[in-house]
Symmetry: none
Subunit: 228 residues, 2 copies
DNA sequence: ATTCATTGTCATAAATATGTCACATTGACG
DNA sequence: CGTCAATGTGACATATTTATGACAATGAAT
């Protein structure tokens, strides 16, 4: 839950305020006074979130945002834009280059915290390489094996990735488009309904080895993996 | 983001100016020339914000404000006072009766918009993804689960959204049209009474799991979720 | 070339949710 | 107490969503 948050802000007073606020909220704040410093820092650690001032000396915040969103390595990092003007135009431009949210100065700490929380929550669920065990099922990403009580499941590549994703994030509900994003990846020229079919195949494989109702349908929303 | 804003102003020219300004900012303007008209309108829809002239024929603005802030149903609605005099004393009196902000005539549309925006941002809690717990009920949007003492509630999509809305704003009466706006969203080609039916279904699910009277009827007004 | 596994899409069935109506209750008020 | 309006309730036709089986395209393995 604690996250690494990079603050890019040239005004020392504001930066101080921000980092104080962040650390109090239990996060780990990294600070940079310019885009250059930020890039340097990011060579070390990729942050979970970037709070980026609109106006910066040297490269502007918006330019930096565009750059980050264009890079495969950093495109997934959410960005919250910090802008002095509350103009609608700026908001649009900010969101255009891929900022995930924006806050206008002066901001209330409460509001900022709320937005940080919201953005972090949207953070794409991760899939680890460690073996996972949920509800009597054991999935090992390394060996590409899934074993249920005794037997071993026979899954196709897509089914495996789907199950891997679901087991990496049990309990929570995943919409079809979320699943497509995470399991199918970029080329989402695939129908939503396709997810249903693969869920079906997965379910068949599961019930064949005696696992019932591990994957639940949440009508109108999506699917959920959970041991009841 | 768009909000219902009630303008109470007896001077037609100013009212025109105000509503024009509001609609241009993407809001929905309701107009009243007097307190009486305003009260009539508010029986239909509770606005998100009231812009209230200080001097009005019949009941004065300040009196109306006091009344509104004294009523459980309307006390949460923010009020921006509109006054010709810039006297400090008036400001104090306005804030005393619960006005959230005030603007002196003549006002610049920009300033007014800024204040509206600020006030609206402070307004009633939105629906978030955070788990909510009220009256022994726990609703978790992420897992899409509702659990009462022990048992888990089985709700349809609409019922879930409805409960989520009510629990996000407990201890507060919601008119049917408010509920329709927030829970049904755009497609409001739906009868008011439909809300009743869904409330009914929700209540059934609640009582089946031993929760009594969590949803109360306020005759002539709407419904309220509260732990007594 | 042939076989086989996998995958995405459909068509159709099955399940479930939704909105409205008719009628029953309830409450406010003279 | 009687009347009117507001709300509670059950039923039901319709709409929406999901499950399922079949199929053709693809590509890898034999």
């Amino acid at each position: 839950m604690p996250a690494n948050i990079l603050v890019v802000e040239d005004e020392p007073a504001i930066q101080e305020l921000l980092t104080l606020n962040l650390t109090q909220a239990g996060h780990n704040a990294l600070r940079a006074l310019s885009v250059e410093q930020a890039q340097l820092l990011m060579r070390e650690t990729l942050p979970d979130l970037i709070i980026l001032d609109w106006m910066l000396p040297g490269m502007s915040g918006i330019e930096f945002a565009r750059k980050l969103k264009g890079d495969e390595l950093t495109k997934a990092i959410p960005i919250i834009m910090l802008t002095a003007r509350g103009e609608e135009a700026d908001k649009v431009r900010g969101l255009e280059v891929g900022a995930d949210d924006y806050v206008t100065k002066p901001f209330s700490p409460r509001e900022l915290n709320a937005r940080i929380k919201a953005v972090l929550r949207r953070r794409a669920p991760q899939m680890t390489d460690d073996p996972i065990e949920v509800g009597g099922l054991r999935l090992d990403p390394m060996t590409h094996r899934v074993s249920g009580n005794g037997a071993t499941l026979d899954l196709g590549p897509t089914e495996f990735r789907l199950l891997h994703y679901l087991m990496s994030n049990p309990e929570r509900v995943h919409s079809r488009s979320q699943v497509l994003d995470r399991v199918w990846g970029d080329r989402v020229f695939v129908e939503d309904r396709t997810v249903d079919v693969h869920i079906r195949r997965l379910r068949r494989a599961l019930t064949e080895t005696g696992h019932e109702q591990l994957i639940q349908t949440v009508r109108g929303v999506g699917y959920r993996f959970s041991a009841h």
